[in-house]
Amino acid sequence: MDQLRRTFLKSAGIAGSVVVAIGAGLLKSGEALAAAWNTSAFTAKNISDAMSGAGFAGAAESKDIVIKAPEIAENGAVVPVEVTSNIPGTTSMAMFVEKNPTPMVGSFDFLAGAEPYVSTRIKMGQTSLVRVAVKAGGKTYMASKEVKVTIGGCGG
């Protein structure tokens, strides 16, 4: 009887500390799919802070990053952007809109089997450079393309 009580108390104690750990933010409930969301890069208010937050400070210009986007986008809320990196060993890519209030749009990590290609649709508040940065072989590269926006897509 006493033995049972001991065991119970012990497990209750362990359960209790797990609850405390969750409360303290040590263990997030429903822990995410992958690495933690890059808050510093996504909330940065200018392109250089966003790029350094995402690990692309000092990226070299490269013509081997091909950005396909319209010259003129009538609706800034939906701008199709398609990017291919022809730089060998490309492992990740990030998109930025220079003049958006928070320039970082998203980042993409290519794991075994994925081609360094992404196609998506992004929001642009006004005419701006769309910048794509990639990591390849431990180095960083970038390319830009201007998209003219007739109606901005950040307001509503």
Binding site: L33, N100, D109, A114, S119, T120
Partner: protein
Amino acid sequence: MAGEMKMRATLQGDVAEVKVLMSHPMEPGTRKDAKTDKLVPAHFINHVVATLNGKSVLEAQWGGAISKNPFLGFKVKGVKAGDKIDVKAEDNQGNKFDGNVAVA
């Protein structure tokens, strides 16, 4: 309803081109409601992971500047017909969505 996913994967040689359309408001949290003049709370997909036969091939982090009802296209090589591609997404409010497709 937020979270529905439509997927298509077509094979060219051994490369599958995968297209995913998700249904989500993608509210950046900076937009004002025209009627109430209050900020609409942020509600956007921030994590996306794609797997080929259970093995991760693409991991993405998104912000509120991905358009409403997001579109994602990517390419995977070393694929044959019948292989399974899964996409899992999660938004900033902790909602989880997934979809899958067999390569055709």
